[in-house]
């Protein structure tokens, strides 16, 4: 039997492996690991940005889009959708305020700035590795399920995992992602927006009596812990109606393009 790993090499490999696991479990390697993370994070930022730019460049060639015009229109559309959502929520809150005299609630979020450094796969979903940019906060100040939004307030994902000093975000389009959501229609239909195949979002269990149409806005309903109400998720792109099924399924188009992820904000409290 021929084998390059004989005697010394085999023992060294096994010993180093066991030693690394042992030292890691005792947190002896923590300073080294934090150091590595800190030293390489500027490189990773640059590489992540370069990867995203390369991706956009390839997309631009493939689809031959006029990106400038498209981006401008997309930005305008997003701004209008945000304004629309805010107005609808304000109108709804106004109605509530009228009903419940004296009730006043202001939304002031405590935000933690973060930056995407890379992707990581966990089972059937993709996680995004984040680094906190604000020196005032550390990973231990944050908790799992805290919402992560883009700078313009669109929900991008939730914190899925915190390991030492690393924060992993699960995007809303990712499998296993579930967000309590509401459709900004007449009835303010609530449901759960679930990520599908790291590509789109699906909202199930919508009673057939609810009237949905393409373009309806979906926001967070605020019916889950740590998630404020009114964060924009996406718009309805298709409604699947099956007469045999008492519930409809709405397919949503997320408003935030995951490929453009760079600077993000974590909502610590609200």
């Amino acid at each position: 039997m021929r084998f390059v790993f004989k005697g010394k090499i085999l023992i060294t490999m096994a010993a180093v492996f066991v030693l690394l696991i042992f030292l890691h479990s005792l947190n002896v390697l923590s300073p080294l690991e934090r150091g590595i993370f800190k030293i390489f994070s500027p490189v990773q930022k640059a590489l992540f940005g370069a990867g995203a730019s390369f991706n956009r460049f390839v997309e631009n060639i493939t689809f031959k889009k006029d990106l400038n015009e498209m981006d401008l229109l997309k930005a305008q559309m997003r701004r209008l959708l945000i304004e629309n959502a805010e107005l609808k929520i304000l109108a709804e809150e106004n109605n509530l305020l009228k009903k419940e005299l004296g009730f006043n609630r202001s939304h002031s979020y405590e935000l933690v700035a973060a930056r995407a450094l890379g992707y990581n796969s966990a089972g059937d979903s993709n996680l995004i590795l984040l680094q906190i940019e604000n020196d005032r906060y550390h990973a231990e100040d944050l908790a799992i399920n805290m919402p992560v939004v883009a700078e313009d307030g669109i929900l991008v994902g939730k914190i899925a995992h915190i390991k030492d000093n690393q924060i992993y975000m699960r995007s809303i389009i990712s499998s296993q992602s579930a967000v309590a959501a509401a459709i900004l229609n007449k009835d303010y239909t609530t449901g759960v927006a679930e990520g599908e195949l790291n590509y789109s979002i699906k909202m199930r269990m919508i009673p057939q009596s609810e009237k949905l149409k393409q373009g309806d806005l979906i926001v967070t309903s605020g019916l889950e812990e740590m998630m404020p109400k009114g964060l924009l998720i996406g718009t309805v792109s298709k409604v699947e109606h099956d007469p045999q099924n008492p519930f409809d399924i709405a397919y949503l188009t997320p408003l935030y393009n995951q490929k453009n992820i760079s600077k993000l904000l974590i909502i610590k409290s609200y």
Partner: protein, 177 residues
């Protein structure tokens, strides 16, 4: 010392590129470059696989959301296996058997990691993660396909360059003869 440093730096570069640059690019994000290099070094019958596998496994462990040690263990197992199969099982050391060996190693690597994650999830050491799903298998399949395409392209490029360079050298030799 220089030998170790060279491979450790190579491993750092590979992991950083894999986690941050290639991960943002549609087809390349599914290719496990660290694993490919480990297999290549193992079948090359080189001791250099040791520093490379240890450094890349350690870094992947730090950056991964999975428990520490899974990538390290998987890379070491794959390096042993690839070396053993290449030297003792494969009688033909041409492109296709080696490509097949790479596919086998990718499966072993992924199955080892997913199996370990499901065991750790079951033991409640790691948070519950759905592992054996359709999407995971689809991704493994895509990883195999993209890796085969990638190494085939590399091989074609290598053969093309080799032929071109050798033919040029031959014509030069003839000229001076």
């Amino acid at each position: 010392m220089k030998f170790w440093l060279f491979y450790i730096l190579g491993a750092i570069g590979t992991v950083l590129l894999e986690e941050s640059f290639f991960a943002a690019i549609p087809f390349l994000k599914l290719i496990n470059f660290s694993l490919l290099i480990v297999i290549y070094l193992s079948i090359g019958n080189k001791n250099s696989v040791l520093p490379f596998a240890l450094a890349s496994g350690y870094l992947l462990g730090i950056y991964s959301s999975y428990p520490f040690g899974l990538h390290l263990g998987a890379l070491l197992i794959v390096s042993f296996l690839a070396n053993y199969i290449y030297l003792n099982v494969l009688t033909n050391h041409r492109f296709f058997p080696v490509a097949l060996l790479m596919v086998f190693c990718i499966f072993i690597y992924d199955i080892f990691i997913l199996g370990a994650v499901s065991v750790l999830s079951f033991l409640k050491i790691y948070s519950k993660t759905s592992v054996w799903t359709k999407i995971v298998f689809k991704n493994i399949g895509l990883e195999v396909v993209y890796t085969i395409i990638f190494i085939s392209l590399l091989y074609c490029l290598f053969v093309f360059l080799k032929n071109r360079i050798s033919s040029r050298l031959l014509t030069r030799k003839k000229k001076y003869a």
